[in-house]
Amino acid sequence: MSDVGQEKDKLIEDHEYDGIRELNNPLPGWWLMTFYITIIFSVIYFAYYQFLGGPTLDEELAQKMSVIESVRKEAQKEAQEERSENKLRALALNQDIIEKGRAEFVAKCIACHGDKGQGIIGPNLTDDYWIHGNGTISSILTTVEEGVLDKGMPPWKGVIAPDVIQSVAVYVYSLHGSNPEGAKPPQGQKVEYE
């Protein structure tokens, strides 16, 4: 038998199951209100998005992406001005930039190009021969950014931050002529260095 204490008058007659009794307490008001509010909200929400012209997921995405695209274009314009070969060559004199590029190179590039740029799956980056571009920092930068999908070089733009990508290109440029052990034989066109 349930221990009902003060609530004897609330016991429902006949409701007894293996000694379990039931009280006839009403539905709590706040509970009922919560239920009604979620139902009303749901009806309005569904109607707005499905019948009353609320944006579809595709429309919402397109709108947000166009904002991002315009921000990106702005940023790109600024970046373009900073990537002339002369400016990049100036960076190549800065040991900090080279070190920053080296750190990223170790993290992302050595799997294919080797820890000294000697080439494994990817080509040797230290000799006078280039398959893509002409060995200038700006052409290296373009290759790193855009990748060479046919050959399996992924595009790193958007994966590596713009300033870091620049330092990687600078670092690769700095490897020229380092003649590491186990260097892969030359591939591509010989480039005349000054």
């Binding site: 006949d14 307490n25 709590p28 239920f35 749901s42 998005y49 995405l61 070089m153 992924p154």
Partner: protein, 719 residues
Amino acid sequence: MADGNQVSSKLMDKIVYDDDVVKKFLFATIFWGAAAFLVGLLAALELAYWKSNLNLEWLTFGRIRPLHTNAAIFAFGGNIIFAGIYHSTQRLLKTRLYSDILSRIHFWGWQLIIVGALITLPLGYSQSKEYAELEWPLDIAIALVWVIFAVNFFGTIAIRRIKHLYVALWFYIATIITVAVLHIVNSIEIPVSLFKSYPVYAGVQDALVQWWYGHNAVAFFLTTPFLGLMYYYVPKAANRPIYSYKLSVIHFWSLVFLYIWAGPHHLLNSALPDWAQTLGMVFSLMLWAPSWGGMINGLLTLRGAWHLLRTDPIIKFLAVAVTFYGMSTFEGPLLSIKSVNSLAHYTDWIIAHVHGGTLGWNGFLTFGIIYYLVPKVWNNKIYSQRLMNNHFWVGLLGILLYYLSMWASGITQGLMWMAVDGNGQLVYPDFVETVMRIAPLYYIRFIGGVLYIVGFFLLIYNVWMTIKTAPKEEKVASVEVSSLAEKVTIGTGHRKLEALGAIFTVLLFISIAVGSIIEIIPTLSIYKYLPAASKTRPYTPLELAGRDIYIKEGCYVCHSQMVRKLPFDVLRFGQPSTIEESMYDRPFQWGSKRTGPDLARVGGKYPDMWHLRHMIDPREITPNSIMPSYPWLADKKIDYLSLRKKLSVMKRLGVPYDENMVANADIYAGNEAEKIYEGLLGQDPSLTEIKDTEVIAIIAYLQTLGKKTSEQGVSQLKR
């Protein structure tokens, strides 16, 4: 013959309850509980420290995670449900179970299925549909055992001595009917071999049916039966009346009607049509109050018994369980709001949410019931109150560490994925960086798991000692009741319905069928959502072979294949995934968690050699990766011959392969593999041993992801 005693014994029936089967199910609960928790602990450790898989393929995360979920839900959860239902139903209906034989077939059948899961899942026999991974022979076995359970249960209702069905029984009926419907509909598949099948649903259909099932496995396996158990064991243990009968009626019917619609909240912002997503979200919101109806009725039933919290550990377990139920069912609707979901989905927040429910609600309710039942059915006092108390506190601390660490992990990683800087670039474009940030939290989660298991071992010891010191002579649980037909008022309205078991069951079926039909049927006409001329080609034979290896290894456990319609997903992974792209995917591989990055558009992103080296040792490419190494893929040969049968089953399911390709699938695949092999060999002549191995097939599959849709369409296949 007119002896007075004999007259009275004619009028009184002596019922002997079948508590032997209850004992059996209790043993099984404890045994499989330990297994499920330990496998979970190993899985948790593997995310913190990948080498703890010992480099054994059977122990990799992709294979044991399904083992953990299935064991926890269906072995630990299932056995306590059966123990509790069989124990309480006999007493609520004042009758022995319908059939002793069926009870035993039910028990042994269920244990055999669990053993089957324990063997097949680590071997990689998996359908990759979450909580429905078991292959077709086990699916059939589950359906059969479930029918036996249903016959036994409804048979018991048919021979009942108590006319009206108590609320616990309503929840049991809802469980038995709905789980049967869910399991059968989600498991319609065509066998290819003894342990391989393809589902009849493809892509978006499969996704919707699976999450209709998956969500309602939570609803009708981890919620309704446990609510039924709560309605019996909480008032029993606290010796208090149920707070509100009216609330029982309202929250029961609203819960079972609304729950079935909520599945699509697992697919928010995906390629699933907008209307289905919106339905999934709003029905999840509406579920908040009906769920809390159960919590209120549970907690307020304890009102007036609060002093027992100090003295009775069973009440502590039950009260905390119901509180966790309330927390989880508030968090669930919150996570279903599209914007919240865009942060939380694919992260550990979902893992936190799930474990709040399972460890807190299901686990603690189960422990409370075990501590209540063991002394009852073995006719002894519990061996140690102190150990019960210790179990409670250690377990609770374990849950809190688990919950808080995974919350922190999920929200941290979710915010990192979303972060876009002022230049429109991702702040953390490198996925592994976001993994490194949360890795320490995986150790804290592991410690939480250890504590929870330590508590469980205290239970095992306590239960063992209680049984060991129990009186040797079997106590026969019996009760005498009047054999004369009860003179009861049937009543009107819902009260009348409670006396009409069959009509109650039919109404229950109708209320779960409505949402199911409205959501699933339109999606079955998938072609409504596809362009008139399909631009997508089916998988080539080798790609299909690779796909089946991807499924076998459980890659979907950590990698999604669904770029959502969210800017930060698009910036990171490319254009949003379309319905068309997965139209030939049986089963779909959209995934539910991103421990690693999305793979929907990984095709062509890296060279074959990158994938080869990454598969054999991911750390050679990504130094901080936590992905397991898969060296065995480079040893095992591709099963070319099975491809003929596989393609013919696919063709039967409507995939446009021509006769020639089906008949020569093995040759086609061999030629494809040869090309990839030659390419790799050209770069590294020492690779001769990888010829015709599985790694070649999986490379072919990965390289086609996001690449099968083009102007040439199906004609691409006929190269």
